[in-house]
């Protein structure tokens, strides 16, 4: 990867461990402004660990080395104190991951607003773009899952991010809701120049949206590059397998089975 003048996020040699066992090993990443990066891998590949480390959490995996540049700021991962990069925000995979069921929605919005401070902007415009009504006195379960998920997106955008992280946007949601949210993100990210990281196990989804793909296995990046290149010329065995099986019942599955 070249030294991009438009660079937004750069991670160098990030490693992390959980009680002595390495869970992330020498991770290097770069994301430019308005760029979409997909982090693809199976369960246990280290995707969520990587996501937590980028967002500054030190538990359960403790980063042992590595540096991060983001929006002109610089962190060493091995510093003990957790950090919270401003202008980086997170959309959880489903409402169950995003809302406390015992708290009213406006309370949860206010909690986030208190944390962001400074940005006392009016959220009405944001709510309008996502065709959301005012949550008022409602509890999460009183809204449909689609509305709840759009509200989670709105909460992420309240932080006025330059990087938005989508965690498994398809695995816990009904397809219509998932597609709707992704298309909203696409529209808003393009309009505001936001970069997006999608964390997913689904290469077909990654290929549909991301400019760049990073494939992880056992805490390592085994393949990285522009989406079209990863899809057409995968280098490692695992990447080749993912590419071959990215569609249901594709010709390539039959080819691999005929060969074996």
């Amino acid at each position: 990867m070249s030294n991009n003048a438009d660079g937004l996020l750069k991670i160098d040699a990030l490693s992390a461990e959980i009680s002595g066992r390495a869970v992330l090993d020498d991770i290097n990443l770069e994301v430019a402004r308005s760029e979409w990066l997909a982090i693809v891998g199976g369960s246990g590949a280290g995707k969520s660990t990587l996501l937590r480390a980028i967002m500054g959490l030190k538990r359960p995996a403790r980063p042992t080395s590595g540096e991060m540049h983001f929006e002109g700021a610089h962190w060493r991962f091995s510093d003990c104190k957790p950090f919270r990069p401003k202008a980086m925000s997170f959309v959880p995979q489903s409402p169950a991951y995003g809302f406390d069921p015992l708290r009213r929605l406006h309370w949860q919005l206010a909690q986030l607003a208190r944390r962001i401070r400074g940005s006392q902007q009016d959220n009405r415009a944001l709510f309008d773009t996502l065709s959301l009504p005012d949550p008022a006195q409602k509890y999460p379960h009183e809204w449909s899952r689609g509305m709840q998920q759009r509200l989670l997106l709105a909460m992420a955008l309240m932080e006025q991010p330059s990087l938005l992280i989508l965690d498994e946007p398809t695995s816990a949601l009904d397809p219509i809701i998932a597609a709707q949210v992704l298309q909203e993100v696409q529209r808003i990210a393009a309009a505001q120049g936001i970069a997006v990281i999608i964390v997913t196990h689904d290469l077909a989804l990654a290929a549909r949206y991301a400019h760049k793909i990073v494939i992880m296995e056992h805490g390592r990046i085994v393949e990285a590059g522009r989406s079209d290149i990863v899809l057409t010329r995968p280098q490692t065995a695992y990447a080749r397998e993912l590419v071959a099986h990215r569609h249901w019942h594709s010709a390539s599955i039959e080819a691999t089975h005929a060969a074996s």
């Binding site: 397809p175 290929a207 949206y209 397998e241 599955i253």
Partner: protein, 262 residues
Amino acid sequence: MRPADPILVLDGLSVRVGQATLLQDVSLSLAKGEVLCIIGESGAGKSTILKAMQGLMPATCSRFCFGPAGIDVTGQMPNRIGLPRTRWVMQDPLAALNPRQSLGSSIAESLHRHRLSAEERKDATLNALAQAELGPEFYDRLPAQVSLGQAQRACLARAMIAQPDLIFFDEPLSALDALVQKKIAYRMDLLRNATQMTYIVVTHDIGFAESYADQVLVLKDGRVVTYQGRVPFFAAPQSHYASELIAAADALGALRRPEAAE
């Protein structure tokens, strides 16, 4: 949509619990070796259809006929019998397997009605494991010692070994990674081709239906909004909701169309 020689006919199935109507007037019929996909959002009543057919829900129908088990009833659905000659595969394999029982003995248990020697039983089990792409080393493993995908393969082997005529799959792939999903789906299809079993698959994955279904039934709020063969379903879906589902699946890259180059 009525196959010439159906193995399963269900007409006018309704399920009411208290005031709530969970299913209203669901009809379907399947020929031997066919795959039916039941699609809908969470809470639409997909699993309720399976439960009603298994007699696990108070349900009424105008006709329920399942030839292999000699069942042909009208009015009340058979209650609490478990449908003979059928098997289930559930969403969460770890919930479906006894955590203290080896995969081999879980699978062999399905053979208890067949009079077999211990050796024949083990051979049949190893054979079933092999059909699900699991080597003999998995015979003695516990569910906690294998991956989720391998556990689901073991469940598939357990369903297959009894040679049922019909298998109910209740979201069999949604707990799994995309790669594992696709491998198991392909394996399910190979086995169906080899045995001519009939499948009813509850799923929210239109991509699976596009590749493997013969019929597609779409539920919304307990009602059938679409019931079509696969080809007409994707070419000209009967309902607006079905076309929304297809569009969503396309937007998620789940359909077999060329990727939008960006």
